[in-house]
């Protein structure tokens, strides 16, 4: 049904039927809408059909759509003149040829006629342009949705790959923690499978997921490792794009926990007041320089692109890098 309504084979006849009724009523010679008024309105529409379809099929595609605005506007007076000539021909030549039993003439003054023609020209051009704009918006929306889905699906294999590596290490060592790690991974995957379909999720759920992930990662870390996660402010009722912070935390674990140094650390801070302020700092290992070309930046680029799509002009992302530390500060306004 919606497909039918959106079809031009439905929309055009409906438009013209309404138009015939409106013109018939406007030019009716009495308060009663008679068949002769319909007949007159039908004849009146012959030049209108020409006007509208010549504009839609020729002038708009050849001039307006091509950005030749001057040519388009110069062609309008010629189109109006041609329409007026067709109007005269319709009533003076075509109508007598029909051998109709009706007696009628078109006694509308040319100023009124041109005004009516202009109204139809402007109206149908606006309808055409708004439909084109709507179609463009739909295409952009679908493109955006496709790109966002693509970005989300990029996260899963990346995270899964790292987690499976951890589980593999534990399994090799026949660690008692293996089953717990698998359970944590299962919880995280459940979140990723079912929650990320939403455009926005409660920040509280996102934080829970991050805490689970951190716990999961801690299982494979030395006790000496320092992972800090501090929260400030009220999370209740605050929404955020799903898995937006996740690649930043994942990257921190990937790059901040690679050597056996006692100085390894990750420091995460989340402040929720008038804005969401997220800060993550980690120690850079020497291996990062070697792997930079291979892995570096995938997660961060993913976050940047999603921020551009979901929070256009309402975010601030600052990346600070020294020889030993890497810090990302993200503010969502």
């Amino acid at each position: 049904m919606i497909k039918l309504i959106n079809s031009k084979w439905f929309q055009h006849p409906v438009f013209w039927m309404l138009s015939i009724y409106a013109i018939g009523n406007y030019f009716s010679i009495s308060s009663v809408f008679k068949f002769i008024d319909v007949f007159y309105a039908l004849l009146f529409h012959v030049p209108l059909f020409f006007l509208v379809y010549f504009n839609l099929r020729v002038l708009i595609p050849r001039f307006l759509d091509q950005g030749k605005y001057l040519l388009y506007f110069l062609s309008i007076p010629l189109l109006l003149l041609a329409t007026h000539i067709i109007h005269e021909l319709t009533f003076e030549v075509m109508f007598p040829l029909l051998d109709s039993e009706f007696y009628m003439v078109s006694f509308t003054e040319w100023q009124v006629l041109v005004s009516i023609f202009l109204i139809y020209l402007i109206l149908t051009t606006l309808i055409k342009l708004s439909k084109s704009w709507y179609t463009l918006q739909q295409v952009e929306k679908e493109k955006l949705s496709l790109e966002l889905n693509s970005l989300k699906t990029q996260i899963n294999p990346h995270f899964l790959f790292n987690s499976l590596n951890s589980i593999y290490s534990q399994a090799l060592a026949k660690s008692d923690q293996t089953s717990e790690t698998v359970l944590e991974l299962s919880n995280l995957l459940r979140y990723m499978l079912y929650e990320v379909e939403e455009e926005k999720v409660p920040l509280m759920k996102e934080v829970e997921m991050l805490e689970n992930y951190i716990e999961l990662q801690k299982l494979r870390l030395e006790e000496a490792s320092k992972v800090g996660f501090t929260l400030e402010g009220e999370l209740e009722g605050v929404m955020i794009a799903p898995l937006l912070l996740f690649p930043l935390v994942e990257n921190a674990f990937k790059h901040g926990m690679k050597d056996d140094s006692e100085q390894e650390f990750i420091d995460i801070k989340l402040k929720v007041y008038t804005a969401i302020s997220f800060s993550i700092k980690n120690k850079l290992g020497q291996i990062d320089d070697m792997e930079k070309g291979k892995y570096g930046g995938i997660g961060l680029e993913n976050v940047k692109r999603r921020l551009e799509l979901i929070y256009p002009n309402s975010y601030e992302l600052v990346i600070l890098k020294t020889e030993t530390e890497f810090q990302v500060n993200l503010t969502l306004l």
Binding site: I29, S30, I36, D37, Y40, F102, Y103, M104, V105, F107
Partner: protein
């Protein structure tokens, strides 16, 4: 409809011109008015019936003192029609519409004529006119046919139906365009009446 009845003086014209078409507005406009001095004088149809064209005497115009009124006054005839023993006086104007001439008749003194009350206004009537030398031809519209066409909604011209009689309420330009288109359609006209120049 009651209101429409009260504003008409159709009966006044029907008596003498029982096959004419009636209009609230004149058939002529400034650009269509023509004047033929050779029409002045009496034109007889038979021993009794005649039509006489005379110059109008100067006096206050019905339309006031506008330029338009002056023009119509300059090209105005005083017309007397004798038909069946009754004499009626009109103001007459001739309009050239297309290739044809049309005579517009309007009661000479409409507001004081017998039978007309203060709540009634007179109407125009018109007929196709031709003349050559000593012959004058007047062709009236076929009122019966026109009434049928109007009642059947086959004519697209503004009008009112007053007790079965059609009163055209269209503006002069509309009437002119309509007449221009259908003036050659013999089916809407009656037989032509021929008058001969008497004096």
């Amino acid at each position: 409809m009651q209101k429409a009845k009260s504003i008409l003086a159709i009966g006044f014209l029907v008596v003498l011109l029982n096959s004419c078409v009636y209009s609230l507005f004149p058939i002529y406009t400034d650009d269509t008015l023509v004047y033929f001095p050779e029409l002045l004088g009496r034109w007889e149809m038979d021993d009794e019936d005649y039509i006489e064209f005379r110059n109008t005497s100067s006096g206050p115009s019905f339309f006031g003192s506008s330029e338009s009124a002056d023009l119509s006054k300059n090209k105005e005839y005083a017309i007397e029609i004798m038909e069946g023993g009754d004499l009626i006086k009109f103001k007459g104007h001739i309009a050239k519409i297309g290739d044809d001439l049309f005579l517009d008749l309007y009661p000479d003194d409409p507001y004081s004529a017998e039978g007309l009350g203060s709540n009634m206004i007179p109407v125009h009537t018109f007929a196709k006119l031709k003349f050559s030398g000593k012959q004058l031809y007047l062709t009236s519209f076929d009122l019966e046919k026109l009434n049928k066409l109007f009642e059947s909604n086959l004519i697209r011209l503004r009008h009112e139906n007053v007790d079965g009689t059609i009163l055209i309420t269209a503006q002069p330009k509309e009437i002119q365009k309509f007449i221009d288109k259908y003036s050659d359609d013999e089916s809407v006209f009656e037989d032509t009446e021929t008058y001969k120049k008497a004096s």
